[in-house]
């Protein structure tokens, strides 16, 4: 009786059986307004209800892993920018984290604080984008997207002021960062988060989070059961929306995350609305982390002066390091044979692995739902295809 009522796939089936209705196979993508890049879904429809969905990807394959195996360790950092091009800093971080683990490089205190600040800033940027694009998929005429992108622009301005680039930052180095951060920059960031960004979050909550149509469109749509989420290796906000308390910042306590006071939001309904809300709530927590980090950041070197970046030759061995990226667990697995470039270089892309459950979430939902479910998975094709 209510708008939230899911379409009972079985009853629709029965009606259609009487009419001997044909199924309609629609190829959505690779050129489609809402597949967030060159992603393709071959959707089989019964009326408007999805009975089968086959994801096709690889249109943006750039041979990332093989390229890195032929490059010096340092030369791969700018390539990692281009994996998930919305959050280049966390990609950098995961990669240098792996190399540091492989070759036993220590990171100075100040650099760790700055990495946390930049990592959480990246999370804000990513979640802003996600919320905006998800609402765009829900059929708003760009309005919430443009408000989100306005905030993203402001944060990108900050990042540009620091790294010289808006998206392809190439900022992390083994043992630290490329340059130091001025105290003015930190003060500016703090002011921005306290005023403008806080206003944005409040506005978003007030105008959209309780919107009846948003609730009707997202609640109960695209449910991802927690056992399936675990079995499929889902990570990040998507997993937490399914109620599993798993945040690598809390589990591994990598870097200096054990020093900050922040909470991990968990969803109880595992649906698209929960996935949307996870992002909204995580933004509040990220703001808290950045504010604490700016308050506590010590003086000191921004990079370990002894750390070797150019011509790095780690001892033979292997290392896997992971961090909690905005989209989930982003990890790098490196095998060194003692030469200047890795013997094997493997990325664990959260976008790709989170995408694997797309069909399970979409079955029995309507065509319009597949788009928002895909939007709530949060993929960047640069990372899915590599």
């Amino acid at each position: 009786m209510s708008l939230s009522e899911p379409i009972p796939g079985s009853t629709i089936r029965a009606v259609h059986d009487d009419f001997h209705g044909d199924l309609l196979e629609v190829s959505m993508g690779p050129h489609h307004p809402s597949t967030h890049g060159v992603f393709r879904m071959i959707v089989t429809l019964d009326g408007e209800v999805v009975v089968k969905l086959k994801p096709v990807f690889g249109y943006l394959h750039r041979n990332h892993e093989k390229l890195a195996e032929n490059n010096a360790y340092l030369a791969s950092i700018p390539y990692t920018d281009r994996l998930d091009y919305l959050c280049s800093l966390t990609n950098n971080w995961a990669y240098v984290h792996a190399v540091e683990k492989l070759s036993g490089i220590e990171v100075p205190e100040r650099a760790e604080y700055l990495r946390v600040i930049l990592g959480e800033l990246t999370r804000l940027i990513n979640h802003c984008c996600l919320v905006g694009f998800l609402l765009n998929d829900l059929g708003t005429s760009f309005t919430p997207l443009l408000y989100s992108l306005r905030e993203r622009e402001r944060m990108l301005d900050m990042i540009e002021a620091l790294t010289g680039s808006r998206m392809m930052c190439n900022f992390m180095r083994f043992g630290g960062l490329r340059t130091d951060v001025s105290s003015e920059w930190l003060a500016q960031l703090k002011t921005y988060l306290d005023t403008t960004f806080a206003r944005y979050l409040d506005e978003q909550d007030a105008l959209l989070t309780g919107n009846e149509i948003l609730l009707a469109r997202t609640q109960g749509v695209g449910v991802l059961k927690s056992d399936l989420a675990i079995n499929a290796g889902i990570t990040g906000p998507m997993l937490r929306a399914s109620g599993i308390n798993y945040d690598i910042r809390k589990v591994d306590k990598y870097s200096i995350y054990d020093r900050f006071d922040f909470r991990v939001p968990l969803g109880d309904h595992s649906d698209t609305y929960d996935r949307y809300m996870m992002r909204m709530l995580e933004m509040h927590e990220s703001v808290k982390i950045i504010q604490q980090a700016i308050k506590d950041i010590p003086e000191g070197p921004f990079i370990d002066p002894k750390a070797k970046n150019r011509g790095l030759r780690p001892k033979a061995g292997e290392a896997y390091a992971r961090i909690e990226g905005p989209k989930g667990e982003i990890g790098f697995h490196l095998i060194s044979d003692g030469t200047g470039n890795p013997y094997r270089y493997r990325v664990r892309p959260p976008s790709l692995i989170n995408l694997t459950v797309l069909e399970d979430m979409c079955l029995g939902q309507t065509l319009a739902d597949t788009v928002i479910i895909l939007g709530s998975v949060d993929i960047v094709l640069g990372e899915v295809d590599r």
Partner: protein, 403 residues
């Protein structure tokens, strides 16, 4: 139709028309000219309104979205905040290549945009634009005619979707038909109360019924049933025009551009034109049924000609359409139908009861008058709350736990 007692401004369009007709000596030719003038006037006024609505919409959307909107186009070095944009758009649409898919049904593919514009223009024939301005003022069943003509434009959408031979277009045209069937009903049902009060199916009669000493308070929208009717009418009109949040046939996030996917160049522009004409004629009907038509809000403002009042109200309605588009999200197909059949249609039916009560208690005085208002308001509010509860059951903001 002499207008000697009216002000010169009020009679101005008629004066022009009579003068033009008098130039022609022949009787039968005079009759032809008289009807042609009306048609040309409607096409010009609403054609220009369409052009400037598109640019206003884009400018307003821009402002809603924290940007400027189109502001580059200039003619002879004059740039009126980009308000020459529609002319540039028209030139662009006319000069673009017209692509017809190889597998399309070429005849239907060509006919669909023509039908869209033609059908959407039909509604203007019966709208009373001013005291003396109505093309077919002598039609008694004007309202029925309006709905019959208005529904035909969905046929054009179906033609477009079917002939394009594109799966997205097909889905879109199916959606358009389902939407039409769902929303024509509440639209008709909320028009009935106005008919009941006026005792006439003639739109002119309905407008005249909303006049009187009280001015603006005589408008149907300022009665309980009229207010509810106007809101339902507005929602149903949004759906009828395929406007956001009911733009499912065009639902760009899932079916690209729906029935428009395979259209380019001027055919595309014609669909646009048809959509806007439909929006304007439905707004015109809303103004006629609920907002007093061409009546001025109070006697002191009656010196402004009636057709300007009508036009101003119509523009306000259209601005509300644009506002909705900038604000709302799109519903899903099943939710759209549920909203109609389980919410709007029952409310509209209850509204019929409310208006009957209103009509038969017209002579209640004093304390009874207060009771009349209270009962009527209750008849509107209670079903709204209870049906709304059912509609949104299971939905709501959630509390989240933290680990």
């Amino acid at each position: 139709m002499s207008a000697s007692s009216e002000s010169i401004l009020e009679a101005f369009p008629l004066t022009i028309r009579d003068w033009l007709a008098s130039v022609v000596p022949l009787d039968w030719l005079q009759w032809l000219i008289l009807s042609l003038i009306g048609i040309v006037a409607i096409l010009t006024v609403f054609g220009l309104t369409f052009a400037f609505t598109t640019v206003t919409e884009r400018k307003l959307l821009g402002r809603f979205q924290n940007r400027l909107g189109p502001n580059r186009v200039r003619i002879f070095g004059i740039r009126v905040f980009g308000f020459f944009q529609p002319f540039a758009d028209a030139v662009k649409a006319l000069t673009k290549e017209d692509i017809v898919p190889a597998a399309a049904d070429k005849v239907l593919h060509f006919l669909a945009p023509c039908a869209m514009v033609a059908f959407s223009l039909l509604g203007f024939a019966v709208l009373p634009f001013g005291k003396h301005l109505s093309l077919l003022s002598n039609i008694d069943a004007a309202l029925l005619y309006f709905f019959a003509a208005g529904a035909a434009s969905e046929l054009a959408i179906f033609m477009a979707g079917w002939s394009s031979n594109n799966k997205f277009s097909l889905i879109s045209s199916m959606r358009a038909l389902a939407q039409l069937i769902s929303y024509e009903l509440p639209l008709l049902l909320v028009a009935v109360p106005a008919v009941l009060m006026a005792g006439s199916l003639s739109l002119t009669g309905i407008v005249v019924n909303q006049g009187g000493d009280l001015g603006i308070l005589n408008w149907n929208v300022f009665t309980p049933w009229g207010f509810a009717g106007f809101i339902i009418f507005f929602i149903a009109a949004l759906a009828e025009c395929n406007r956001c949040p009911f733009d499912l046939p065009e639902g760009e996030s899932e079916i690209i551009a729906g029935y428009l996917t395979e259209y380019s160049g001027f055919k595309y522009a014609l669909f646009f034109m048809g959509e806007y004409f439909g929006m304007m004629s439905l707004s015109g009907l809303g103004v006629t049924l609920f907002l007093g038509g061409w009546q001025a809000p109070c006697a002191a403002l009656a010196f402004i000609p009636s057709y300007l009042w009508f036009y101003a109200k119509l523009i306000v309605m259209i601005l509300c359409f644009i506002w909705m588009r900038a604000t709302l999200l799109r519903l899903r197909m099943d939710q759209l139908m549920r909203l109609s059949w389980k919410f709007l249609v029952p409310l509209a039916l209850v509204n019929l009861g409310t208006v009957t009560f209103w009509k038969y208690t017209a002579d209640w005085e004093g304390g009874m008058l207060v009771a009349r208002w209270l009962i009527a308001i209750a008849l509107v509010i209670l079903p709204f709350i209870s049906l709304g509860k059912v509609l949104s059951s299971g939905l709501g903001p959630r509390k989240y736990r933290y680990a």
